[in-house]
């Protein structure tokens, strides 16, 4: 749920990175954090286990510039990808404005991708959201790995609603910012559409 504060002249938006365990959601945020100038970002919070697996969420606040004199602030969250953290995943989707679904391109993660995609739709429904109405895009991560499935196959399996999708190698940063820009733009355009009564 976006939050517009006229006093602080801010538009706040919540973006969530969703996907199966170890697909690179946290790595996306870490890369964004490293490459963003200090005045445009806040502190990155990672609630992780001792083995650096996300336990609850990662959080990164970003300022992307001004529109009509209002600062646009994006709050980026990741969910814990491991199957048994479903209760936490559901909590983080609350009030979401846009979703990046990060898929793991490796052949052996095909089922995990599909399971996570279905889980996301289910959790959205639990919050009363319909995936077709939620701005979302798909990122095919780990394109550099030898067992990466051709993008076309991943697209056919996961891109159910023909939304914009991006190839990525989050460890090197390839595709990370194009993904972020695309979802941020899509969310703002969706808010505009809502304001126009559409």
């Amino acid at each position: 749920m976006s939050f517009i504060n006229y006093s602080a002249r801010e538009i706040n938006v919540k973006l969530v990175y969703y996907g199966p365990g170890l697909c690179g959601k946290t790595t996306n945020l870490q890369y964004i954090y490293q490459k963003t100038s200090p005045n445009a970002k806040g502190k990155m919070i990672s609630l992780a286990t001792e083995t650096e697996r996300t336990l609850f969420f990662d959080f990164l606040p970003l300022a992307l510039g001004d529109i009509k004199g209002f600062k646009t602030r994006f709050h980026l969250y990741t969910v814990p990808g491991q199957v048994f953290y479903d209760a936490s995943r559901k909590l983080i989707l609350k009030g979401v404005d846009g979703i990046v679904f990060v898929a793991d391109s490796q052949f052996e993660r095909t089922d995990a991708n599909l399971e996570s995609w279905d889980n996301m739709k289910y959790n959205l429904e639990e919050h009363g959201f319909d995936i077709t109405k939620v701005p979302h895009i798909i990122q095919y991560n780990k394109r550099d790995l030898p067992s990466a499935v051709p993008t076309e196959e991943l697209r056919a399996a996961l891109n159910e609603y023909n939304v914009p999708d991006f190839e990525a190698v989050a460890t090197t940063g390839y595709g990370v910012f194009p993904t972020l820009k695309a979802i941020a733009k899509m969310v703002l355009k969706d808010l505009k559409k809502q304001a126009m009564g559409g």
Partner: protein
């Protein structure tokens, strides 16, 4: 369309901040902040210098969300008050009208009893303001600010 957005106008922000400021004084607190359940910071009062209020807001909301999840598992609707005791500072979190979270940071100069009492009073006033806001927003289609924003404005934001 997603859940309706929260819009806070200057006058409302002023009223809410005033309540938080009074709460700081009356509860002998160090800091009071108001967060929505999604982790958006709404207002801050007290000594917030050197304090990462954005992170505090996010974690407070996460804390309330996780505790709410626990409550449901044992058949409770929600735990409306949380208290964390530290060696120096303490945190008191409570829900307002199931929508907002009041977070009070206090030390030895106050007590949990006093904080609880003052928060209760502030909650009543905040609930009234929220009700008024809801009445005003009833029937609003979307925020006029977004109606004024053009696609070019949005595209320009992302030009390198």
């Amino acid at each position: 369309m997603l859940a309706s957005q929260t819009v806070l106008y200057e006058e409302e922000h002023k009223q809410i901040t005033e309540i938080c400021e009074n709460l700081v004084t009356e509860a002998h607190a160090k800091l009071v902040f108001l967060v929505d359940k999604n982790g958006q910071l709404i207002a801050v009062a007290g000594d917030s210098e050197n304090m990462d209020t954005t992170s505090l807001a996010t974690l407070a909301a996460g804390n309330i969300a996780a505790t709410g999840g626990l409550a449901k598992l044992i058949g409770e609707e929600e735990f409306s008050i949380l208290f964390h005791e530290g060696s120096r500072d303490n945190l008191h979190l409570s829900l307002v009208a199931q929508k907002l979270i009041v977070v009070v940071v206090f030390d030895h100069r106050s007590t949990v009893g006093l904080v609880r009492l003052r928060v209760k009073k502030a909650t009543t006033r905040l609930t009234e303001i929220l009700d008024e806001m809801e009445k005003k927003r009833k029937g609003d289609q979307g925020n006029p600010l977004f109606a004024e924003i053009t696609d070019d404005d949005i595209d320009n934001l992302f030009n390198d």
